[in-house]
C-alpha cells in the first residue's frame, strides 16, 4: 500500500493537495498542516506530489518484494 510522507518543514498548509487528491486521502491537521487522514485509500497516483508547489509531499510505492518470476 502506498505511503504518503509530508515534510512538515516544507508544508505551508496551502491545502492544494487536500483539494485535489483524487481519492480524498488528505486533510489539514489542527496545526494547518497536510496529513494522510485516509492513507489506506491512497492509490499511489502521485497527483499530490505533482500538485504541491513546495515539494513537501513524497509518495512511496511498496517496494519490489512482489516481483517474482
Amino acid at each position: 500500500m502506498p505511503k504518503v510522507e509530508i515534510n512538515k518543514a516544507a508544508c505551508t498548509g496551502c491545502g492544494v493537495c487536500v483539494e485535489t487528491c483524487p481519492t480524498d486521502v488528505l486533510r489539514l491537521d489542527k496545526h494547518g498542516m497536510a496529513f494522510a487522514a485516509y492513507e489506506a485509500d491512497c492509490q499511489g497516483c502521485f497527483i499530490c506530489q505533482w500538485d504541491c508547489a513546495y515539494e513537501a509531499i513524497r509518495v512511496r510505492i511498496r517496494g519490489g518484494q512482489e516481483i517474482d518470476a
Binding site: E19, Y38, G44, I47, D51, I61, G63, I67
Partner: protein, 583 residues
C-alpha cells in the same frame, strides 16, 4: 442526521470530472446553456483522464479516413460511419486544448504524432507533461467559459418527472451529498449528462493490488442510469481486460512501445517473433496480452526491457508518463539497468472498450432529458474509450443537451423523491449494527476472482450471480459508514453491485469467445453470432436482456476476419482449438 438540503437549479447538469465531462460542459456552455458540473472528486483530478498515459489519439487534416477505419475501426462492432464523423471533432479538440495550454510535443510550432501498438499509422499526440497537466489546463479552459462547478459532491440518484425509478417520464436532475461535510444537494436540471467514467472488474479494495488506477471506478453513473430505466449495452465486452501484475498504474504501451521498449523472455529473446514477426511490439494490444500471458504460462518470465530507449527519450517519457515511471521506480527496479518482469492479470476497466449507457450519435440515452458520454457509455460503438473518443462523445452530448434544455421547461420537482434519496444516503450512517465496509468489499472481490476470472463458464457465472444477489441482500445492504468519506465508499460499492449484476448477466448471455472475452464452454469463434449488441434494461425490479443486430450502416468497409490465436489460451480444449483454426 445530515445537513440541510441545498437546492440548486441549472439548465444542464454534468456529472463527472474527466475529459468527457469537460467537453460536455464546455460545449453546452458554448451553446448558451447555464451549466453546473458536479464531481465526486475534484474536477480535473478525478477518474481516468488525469491519470492518462500521456497520449491523445487524434486525426489531423490530410489523414486518410480509410487509414483510421482500417487502423481502429475494422472490428465488426464498430460504427465506422461515426468514427469518420468523429475525426474533425477530435482535431478541433486538439487545437482547443492547445489554446488552453495543454503541452503537446511539437516540432517548431507543429504538434507531432507518434505511432502506437496496433496502429497502422502515427496518430498519437503526446502530452509532454502527461495527463495531470493536460487536465488542469482543460479545467482552466472550461471554467473560463463560465461553467459552474461543485467538487466533492457524490451524486447518488437521478430525479424523474414521475418520481419513479425506472421512469416512464424524463430525468429532471439529481441528488447527492458532499463527501466531507455531508451537505445534501438537490439539483434540478432541464437536461442531465452523465460522464462518470468506466467501472472496474473487479472493483479493487484498499490494499489489493488488482488492476491499475484509478481504484475508485465504481460505475456510479451507470448504476443510476440503469435504475432510472436507461438501456445499457456492451457490458460483456468492457469489464474484462488484462492488466500488468506489477504496476498499479496504466501500462503506458502507447508511449513506451514506439520509444523502443521491448518484450523479452528470461533469455533476453524478443518472444513476439513467435507471434507477429512483422509488427513485433507494435502488434495489436490483444495479441500483446495473449503473447505475454502465454509466455508467463510457459515459464519464460516475460519482461519489459526499457534499456533500448535512448536516454533523451527516457527523460521525455518521465514527463509524458510520470505516474508510470514513478511506479516502476517505486517497485525498486532500475529501468535503465534491468528488464521489468511483466505479466497480466484479470482486471478490467470498462471504458477501454466502451460499456455502459446505450447512446445515440447525439449522446442521448433511451430516457428523455438524460444524456451520457465517455467511459460510462457504449461509446455509441466508436472503437474504444480513448481520450479522444471520450472528448468527442462529450462534445456531442453537450450540444444536444443544451439544445434540449433550450426548448424545455424545468421538469416537475417532487420533494418526496428527493426525501427518499436522502434517506437512502443516510442509512449507512445511522445504522448502528451495520457491517464494516472493507471485509465485505474484499469478500466480494475474492469471490469474483475465484468464480468469474478471465475464463468464463456458465455454472461459475451463475454461482457468482446468485452469490452477488445473496451478498447484496445480507451484507451490502447492511453496511455502515463511520463518516462521510466512508459513506462515499459504501455508496460506491452499492452502486457497483448493480452494475456488476447487469455485467455478469451479459457475460452469461454472450456465447462466443474472442479477444479478451473467453467462454470456456463456448470457445469457438462464431463470426455470425458474434455480430450483435446485447442490451440490458431494468424493467420493474428485474433486469431484462436481449440482443439486436449491428446496423448495416455502421460499416463502410468490410469487417476484418478475426484471428484465432486467443483460443490457444488456457482452458480451450485441443479439439475446440483445432476446430477454430479450421484444421
Amino acid at each position: 442526521m445530515m445537513h440541510k438540503v441545498e437546492k440548486v437549479e441549472t439548465d444542464v447538469l454534468v456529472i463527472g470530472g474527466g475529459i468527457a465531462a469537460a467537453f460536455a460542459a464546455y460545449r453546452a456552455r458554448r451553446s448558451g446553456a447555464r451549466v453546473l458540473l458536479v464531481d465526486r472528486s475534484y474536477f480535473g483530478r478525478s477518474g481516468c483522464s488525469a491519470l492518462a498515459s500521456g497520449v491523445y489519439p487524434t486525426y489531423m487534416p490530410g489523414d486518410k479516413e480509410e487509414d483510421w477505419i482500417q487502423g481502429l475501426g475494422a472490428g465488426p462492432l464498430v460504427n465506422q460511419r461515426l468514427l469518420v464523423k468523429s475525426l474533425p471533432v477530435m482535431y478541433e479538440h486538439l487545437m482547443t486544448m492547445d489554446r488552453w495550454g495543454v503541452k503537446w510535443m511539437k516540432e517548431g510550432k507543429e504538434i507531432v504524432r507518434m505511432g502506437a501498438p496496433g496502429r497502422t499509422f502515427k496518430n498519437g499526440a503526446w502530452m509532454t507533461e502527461g495527463g495531470p497537466q493536460m487536465m488542469m489546463a482543460v479545467r482552466a479552459g472550461v471554467l473560463e467559459s463560465g461553467v459552474q462547478t461543485l467538487n466533492r459532491v457524490a451524486i447518488t440518484e437521478l430525479l424523474t418527472s414521475d418520481g419513479t425509478l425506472p421512469t416512464e417520464g424524463q430525468v429532471t436532475g439529481a441528488v447527492g451529498f458532499h463527501v466531507r461535510d455531508g451537505g445534501i444537494y438537490s439539483i434540478q436540471a432541464k437536461a442531465t449528462i452523465v460522464c462518470t467514467g468506466p467501472y472496474k472488474f473487479p472493483y479493487p479494495w484498499p490494499g489489493s493490488t488488482l488492476g491499475y488506477m484509478p481504484i475508485d471506478l465504481s460505475g456510479d453513473g451507470i448504476a443510476m442510469m440503469l435504475r432510472a430505466g436507461a438501456q445499457l449495452s456492451r457490458l460483456e465486452l468492457g469489464g474484462i481486460n488484462l492488466n500488468p501484475d506489477h504496476l498499479l498504474c496504466a501500462p503506458g504501451l502507447e508511449s513506451l512501445m514506439p520509444s523502443g521498449a521491448r518484450f523479452v523472455d528470461k533469455n533476453g529473446r524478443r518472444f513476439l517473433e513467435n507471434y507477429d514477426p512483422k509488427r513485433m511490439e507494435m502488434t495489436s494490444r490483444a495479441l500483446l496480452y495473449f503473447a505475454i500471458s502465454h509466455q508467463k504460462e510457459l515459464g519464460n518470465v516475460p519482461s519489459m526491457d526499457l534499456r533500448g530507449i535512448a536516454s533523451e527519450r527516457l527523460e521525455l517519457l518521465k514527463k509524458v508518463i510520470p505516474i508510470i515511471i514513478s511506479n516502476y521506480e517505486g517497485l525498486g527496479v532500475d529501468i535503465t539497468k534491468e528488464p521489468v518482469p511483466y505479466s497480466y492479470q484479470v482486471a478490467g476497466t470498462s471504458g477501454i472498450f466502451g460499456a455502459g449507457a446505450r447512446i445515440t450519435e447525439q449522446g442521448e440515452t433511451t430516457i428523455t432529458g438524460l444524456y451520457a458520454a465517455g467511459g460510462c457509455t457504449d461509446n455509441a460503438y466508436l472503437p474504444g474509450g480513448h481520450l479522444s473518443f471520450c472528448s468527442t462523445t462529450g462534445h456531442w452530448a453537450g450540444e444536444a443537451a443544451a439544445a434540449f434544455a433550450a426548448r424545455s421547461e424545468q421538469g416537475t420537482f417532487l420533494p418526496q423523491q428527493v426525501q427518499q434519496a436522502i434517506e437512502a444516503i443516510e442509512l449507512p450512517l445511522i445504522r448502528t449494527d451495520g457491517l464494516d465496509y472493507e471485509p465485505v468489499h474484499r469478500r466480494l472481490g475474492e469471490m469474483l476472482m475465484e468464480k468469474v476470472g478471465l475464463v468464463l463458464r456458465a455454472d461459475r457465472l451463475q454461482y457468482a450471480i446468485d452469490k452477488l444477489l445473496e451478498m447484496r441482500e445480507t451484507e451490502i445492504s447492511r453496511l455502515h459508514a463511520r463518516d462521510y468519506h466512508e459513506l462515499a465508499k459504501v455508496c460506491g460499492l452499492q452502486q457497483y453491485c448493480q452494475v456488476l449484476e447487469a455485467t455478469l448477466r451479459a457475460y452469461l448471455y454472450r456465447t462466443e469467445s474472442r479477444v479478451a472475452f473467453i467462454r470456456e464452454d463456448f470457445p469457438v469463434i462464431d463470426n455470425v453470432n458474434w455480430v450483435k449488441m446485447i442490451v440490458v434494461q431494468r424493467q420493474g425490479k428485474n433486469l431484462k436482456l436481449w440482443d439486436e443486430p449491428i446496423p448495416e450502416y455502421f460499416h463502410i468497409v468490410p469487417v476484418r476476419p478475426t484471428q484465432n490465436l486467443h483460443l490457444v489460451f488456457r482452458n480451450a480444449t485441443p479439439a475446440a482449438h483445432s476446430k477454430a483454426l479450421g484444421s
